[in-house]
C-alpha cells in the first residue's frame, strides 16, 4: 500500500511536469496545426537559463521568472519571423522547428558546456513530508500543486476571458475566427510564446530533480507527444487527462518492467487510437 501511494505520487509528479510541457504543445497545435519539434528545446532552454540565473542570484524564483521571459521571447520571435511564413503548411513548419531544435541543442552545448547539472532545491522544500508509512519529498508535492494551479489558471483564462473565447474560436475554425475580426496571426504568436514559456517553466520546476543535460529535449518530447495524442490534439482538458494517464503508466512501467519502460507507453496510445483516433477529447 505504501509502495502504491509513493509510486502514485511519483506518477503525479511526472504528470505535473508533462502537463506543463504538453499544454503549450497542444495549444500551439490547436491554433496553428504546428507539430513543434523544438518544444522539448524550450524546456531545455528553461533549465539552462534558470541555472545561470540561480548561480548568480541563488534564487529559484528569479531563475524561473527570467527563464519564462527569455524563452517566451525566443518562442515569439521564432513564430513571428519564421513559422508564420508557412501559414497552413504543416510540413515546412515541422522541418523548420526541427532545424531550430538542432540549433538550440548545439547553442546550449556551446554556451553551457555538456556537463549535466541539477538546480538547487528552493529553501524550505528540501525535506520530506511524512504521513504514516509514506515518506515523500516535499518538493515533488510542491510541483504537483503548482501544476494544478497552472492548470486551473489556464482553464480560467480559456473559459472565462475574452482571450480564451478568441482562442477557442480560433481552435474551432481559424478562417471563421479571422473573418469575425480576431487577429489570428497575433494570437498565434502569443499562444506559441505562452507555450514556450510554459515549457520553460516546466524545465525550471523539473530542474532540481531531472536537471539539465544535452539530450533532455528529445528525451521528453516523445512523452509530450504521447500526452497530446492520447488527450486529443488541441484540447487543454485532453492535455491534463493525458498527462495523468501517461505520467502514471510511465512511472509504474518504469518501476515494474524497467526494460520496457518506453514500450509501456505504447499500450494506452494504441488503445486510444483504436477506439477514438482523434484522442480522448480531440475534435474529429
Amino acid at each position: 500500500m505504501t509502495y502504491l501511494i509513493t509510486q502514485s505520487l511519483n506518477g503525479l509528479f511526472s504528470a505535473a511536469l508533462l502537463f506543463l510541457i504538453a499544454s503549450g504543445l497542444t495549444l500551439a497545435f490547436g491554433v496553428m496545426k504546428i507539430v513543434n519539434i523544438a518544444h522539448g528545446s524550450f524546456y531545455m532552454l528553461g533549465v539552462y537559463v534558470a541555472y545561470t540565473v540561480v548561480l548568480r542570484t541563488g534564487s529559484l524564483i528569479a531563475g524561473a521568472l527570467v527563464a519564462v521571459v527569455v524563452v517566451g521571447v525566443v518562442g515569439f520571435v521564432m513564430q513571428r519571423v519564421f513559422l508564420r511564413r508557412f501559414g497552413a503548411e504543416p510540413l515546412p513548419q515541422m522541418m523548420m522547428t526541427m532545424g531550430f531544435a538542432l540549433l538550440f541543442r548545439d547553442l546550449a552545448l556551446m554556451i553551457w558546456g555538456g556537463d549535466p547539472f541539477t538546480l538547487q532545491y528552493p529553501a524550505g522544500l528540501r525535506a520530506s513530508v511524512e504521513a504514516g508509512d509514506v515518506v515523500f519529498p516535499s518538493y515533488r508535492l510542491f510541483v504537483i500543486a503548482v501544476a494544478a494551479l497552472v492548470a486551473a489558471a489556464l482553464w480560467l483564462v480559456n473559459e472565462k476571458t475574452l482571450i480564451g473565447a478568441r482562442l477557442r474560436a480560433t481552435v474551432d475554425d481559424p478562417e471563421m475566427a479571422s473573418a469575425i475580426g480576431i487577429n489570428v496571426a497575433r494570437l498565434s504568436g502569443v499562444v506559441f510564446a505562452a507555450g514556450a514559456a510554459l515549457a520553460a517553466f516546466g524545465g525550471v520546476m523539473g530542474g532540481p530533480i531531472l536537471g539539465g543535460y544535452a539530450g533532455i529535449d528529445f528525451d521528453l518530447l516523445p512523452l509530450a507527444f504521447v500526452v497530446v495524442i492520447v488527450g486529443g490534439m488541441g484540447s487543454l482538458k485532453g492535455a491534463l487527462v493525458g498527462s495523468i494517464v501517461v505520467g502514471m503508466i510511465d512511472n509504474f512501467g518504469k518501476a515494474l518492467v524497467p526494460e520496457l519502460s518506453y514500450f509501456t507507453l505504447f499500450a494506452p496510445m494504441i488503445l486510444v487510437l483504436a477506439l477514438k483516433p482523434t484522442g480522448l477529447y480531440g475534435k474529429g
Binding site: 497545435f29 496545426k33 507539430v35 519539434i37 519564421f82 511564413r85 508557412f86 497552413a88 503548411e89 504543416p90 510540413l91 515546412p92 515541422m94 522541418m95 523548420m96 526541427m98 532545424g99 531550430f100 531544435a101 538542432l102 540549433l103 538550440f104 541543442r105 548545439d106 547553442l107 552545448l109 556551446m110 528529445f218 518530447l221 516523445p222 507527444f225 504521447v226 497530446v228 495524442i229 490534439m233 524497467p258 526494460e259 520496457l260 519502460s261 518506453y262 514500450f263 507507453l265 505504447f266 496510445m269 494504441i270 487510437l273 483504436a274 483516433p277 482523434t278
Partner: protein
C-alpha cells in the same frame, strides 16, 4: 503548361538528364578511382538513398508524412545484428529475417496509422518511432542498450563471396540499390502508384470512385517499410555495428530532410538529398565540431530557399504532398 514555356521546359529536361548521367557515372565508375574513404561515403549514400526513396513512396507519392520511418531501418539492422552475432545464424537467414522483421513491424504499425492523415500522421509516426527507439535503448539484454551491438560479420565473409573489401561491398550495395530503385519506379508508375497519387491529391474523390483508400495507404506504408528494411540490412553489414542512434528522431528527421531537400515524389530527388546530407555531414565534421548547428541552419535555409526540393526546382509544378 503554357506554349511559351515549352522551350524552358526542354532546357530543364536537359538539365535533369545531364545530372542523371553525371550521377550514374560517379556511382558506377567513381569507386574505381577513389580511395577507400570516399568509397565508404558513396556506400553510405547509396544505402541511405534506398531508405530515402522508400520514404518518398510514403511522403511524396502517397502524401503520408512519416516521422518514424528510420524505425523500420533500425529494426532490420538490429535483427541482422542479433541473429548474426548472438545466434550465429547464416547469411540468408539473417538477411531474410531482417527484411521480414522490418516489414512485419511496418505491417503492425500500419494497422494503427493507416486511417490517420496529415499532421496527425506526422505526430503518431513520430511517437511510434520513438517507442521503438526506446525499446532498442532500454531492452538491454537483447539490444545491448546504448552500447549497441558490434561484431557483425562483413557481408562478403557472411555470404561466402569469393571477393572481399569495400569495393566489392560497394558494388553489391549499388546492385541492391539499383534493383530497389527499379522496383520502386515500376511501383509508382503502376496503376497502384497512380492510385496513391490520386489519394494524395484528393482522397474523398478516390474513395467515391470506389477505391479502398485505407488499404492503399496501408500497403504503401508496408511497402515503404519493406524497402527501408532492405536498407537497414545493408547498413548493418556496412557498419558492422548497430546502436539506438539509427532509430531516433534525429535520424528520422534527417531522412525527412533528404526527401524534402531532394524533391518529394521524384525518387531521384531523395538520392540527391541523401548524397547532399552525407557529404555535407562528413565534410563539415572534418572542419568543425558544430555540425548540429550547421545542420540546423541547413534545415531552415533549405525550407526557405527550396521548399519543393532541388529536383523540382525551376518552376515545375509542385509535386509535393503539401499542396492543397
Amino acid at each position: 503548361m503554357a506554349k511559351g514555356s515549352r522551350r524552358a521546359s526542354a532546357l530543364r529536361t536537359d538539365w535533369r538528364a545531364g545530372v542523371l548521367g553525371a550521377l550514374a557515372i560517379v556511382l558506377v565508375v567513381g569507386p574505381l578511382v577513389l580511395d577507400s574513404y570516399w568509397i565508404g561515403l558513396l556506400t553510405q549514400i547509396v544505402i541511405l538513398a534506398i531508405l530515402a526513396m522508400s520514404l518518398d513512396i510514403l511522403l511524396g507519392y502517397t502524401g503520408l508524412p512519416s516521422l518514424g520511418h528510420a524505425a523500420f531501418f533500425g529494426v532490420a539492422a538490429y535483427a541482422v545484428a542479433v541473429l548474426s552475432t548472438t545466434y550465429r545464424a547464416d547469411f540468408w537467414t539473417s538477411v531474410l529475417a531482417g527484411v521480414a522483421m522490418g516489414t512485419a513491424s511496418a505491417a503492425a504499425f500500419g494497422l494503427i496509422v493507416a486511417h490517420v492523415r496529415d499532421v496527425y500522421f506526422l505526430m503518431i509516426t513520430l511517437a511510434l518511432g520513438m517507442v521503438l527507439w526506446g525499446l532498442s535503448y532500454r531492452w538491454i539484454p537483447v539490444t545491448g542498450g546504448d552500447n549497441g551491438i558490434s561484431g557483425i560479420p562483413t557481408l562478403e565473409a557472411h555470404a561466402g563471396l569469393p571477393v572481399a573489401g569495400p569495393l566489392a561491398f560497394y558494388y553489391v550495395t549499388l546492385l541492391v540499390c539499383a534493383g530497389c530503385a527499379a522496383l520502386m519506379r515500376t511501383l509508382v508508375r503502376s496503376p497502384f502508384g497512380l492510385t496513391l497519387r490520386g489519394i494524395r491529391e484528393n482522397e474523398a474523390r478516390m474513395r467515391s470512385l470506389g477505391f479502398n483508400t485505407w488499404l492503399h495507404c496501408y500497403l504503401s506504408f508496408v511497402i515503404a517499410g519493406a524497402f527501408a528494411s532492405v536498407a537497414g540490412v545493408m547498413w548493418a553489414y556496412y557498419n558492422g555495428f548497430v546502436s539506438p542512434t539509427y532509430l531516433d528522431l534525429t535520424a528520422s528527421s534527417e531522412l525527412f530532410l533528404m526527401v524534402t531537400l531532394g524533391g518529394p515524389a521524384t525518387l531521384v530527388g531523395p538520392l540527391l538529398g541523401a548524397g547532399a546530407i552525407v557529404l555535407l555531414k562528413n565534410v563539415m565534421s572534418a572542419y568543425t565540431a558544430r555540425w548540429l548547428l550547421i545542420l540546423g541552419i541547413v534545415y531552415i535555409v533549405a525550407i526557405l530557399a527550396a521548399p519543393q526540393g532541388i529536383w523540382n526546382l525551376g518552376g515545375r509544378r509542385s509535386a509535393g504532398p503539401e499542396r492543397t
